[in-house]
Amino acid sequence: MNWGAIAAIYRFEMSRFFRTLMQSFLSPVLSTSLYFVVFGTAIGSRIDQVEGISYGAFIVPGLIMLSVMTQAISNASFGIYFPKFIGTVYELLSAPVNFLEIVLGYVGAAASKALFIGTVILCTAAFFVDLRIAHPLAMVLFLVLTCLSFALMGFIIGIWARNFEQLQLVPLLIVTPLVFLGGSFYSITMLPPVWQTITLFNPVVYLISGFRWAFFDTSDVPVGLSLLAIGGFTCLCLAVIWWIFRTGWRLRS
């Protein structure tokens, strides 16, 4: 393993993040506060409780997941798309590194940024609602795995994209709807039976349900299934990336 290369990529990517630290920090704080003002206070006052939890607290896991997933995808996809766009990818392709090292560097950095933002949101939320975390270790595990798997997916999108429109397309058309319809802001038991069944085909449901279980010890789907879903998704992304580097798809002519 070329650990030096992984560290170099990671550090270089993170420096982009630190250059805009204020913005990286302020925007999740602001948006989370707005969510609480709008959903938690205005709407929450009309919704009593969901599964014995105050609505304000109930939406916290979904809120974190929503940001973490979109951030992981956009950071990772931009991280690898940008070198392709400006041409600096020549250096990666001609360096003594294999696919795993490149992935660890870029995906590791993107996941770290998402994790940072997720933590900021969690802390901000703690100001607005009374939060208790039933399974702290499981909470961290779900959070880290979500950051990683969605960063892997973002990495694939970044390699696939030929222009900025395509870079935005998948997150906009596929990921955001799936996340919003994945029970971020409601329990799927609140849906009519038909929709409950349809919803189960949405992979994001499993992630949010598992994450919420870590907080409140209640879940829409069994926790084991949630772990399986996120583990399977991670493996799928890794397999696709392995294939990309083996064939040089969209990277090497």
Binding site: F12, T88, L93, S94, R252
Partner: protein
Amino acid sequence: MSTILSIRDLRKRYDGGFEALKGVSLEIEQGEILALLGPNGAGKTTLISTICGITTPTSGSVTVGGHDIISGFRAARSMIGLVPQEVALEPFETVIRTVRFSRGLFGHPRDEALIERILRRLSLWDKRNAPVKELSGGMKRRVLIAKALAHEPRVLFLDEPTAGVDVELRKDMWDTVAELKADGVTIILTTHYIEEAEAIADRVGVISGGELLLVEDKKRLMARMGKKRIEVLLSAPIRKIPPALAAHDLVLTGDNDTLVYEYDTHAERTGITRLLNDVAAAGLVLRDVKTRESSLEEIFVDLVSEGRS
């Protein structure tokens, strides 16, 4: 001298079906400067990109320091530094960070003293904390060189390092190349300027249409390329060359009114004065005298036909 880079029957067919390399074989000696001379589209960049791992070869093999570029890609690439033809740099990063990144990417530990030496040598030290986007074009090109040198490569590829660079910077670049050679770095550079190959190379390879037409010691090649011709236009046609001019190896062309004399610009005596005196002494009247230098294109044509005969 030992071979550091060995290319055997390398072919590259791009996805569209275009064959950019048609079986290139070449051995490069340790410590030499090889200039690859060829017109646009000859396949110079493709050749370099294939050796460096940016494009995948269709067939053939390349070894660097004995390591195959595919099965031993780590060892092979560790020895190579690449300065690409197009300037590609992270615009917002500072000079020194991009150079540090390159060293790290090759798995080397930090070495600030080395990076300072490299940046000073390339006159970039004062700009080390400036974002790359604030640099001039010539400086950006030097940042690319600094990045390529940051992992102390044994073989350095410079793809058209002086294309679009003004005369003064070009001389600086040549000096840099000479210094690197003194450090024992093997250098392969591409260019379409004959003078550039002449100024810095030990050997010159001529590439055209995806084929390596020849690789030859520079001095011998320059002697061949340094041919000039004089055309002496006479006021009236003659039937044959007068015996008094037989010693000059002239050719009678045009409507039998033009004498063509070829000479070597590198030779001590060109024989022009004597020729013109003898022409006058033979009683011929001159209408005009023209000199012509072979263009790069003509030299290529010459080389191809010579290579085939």
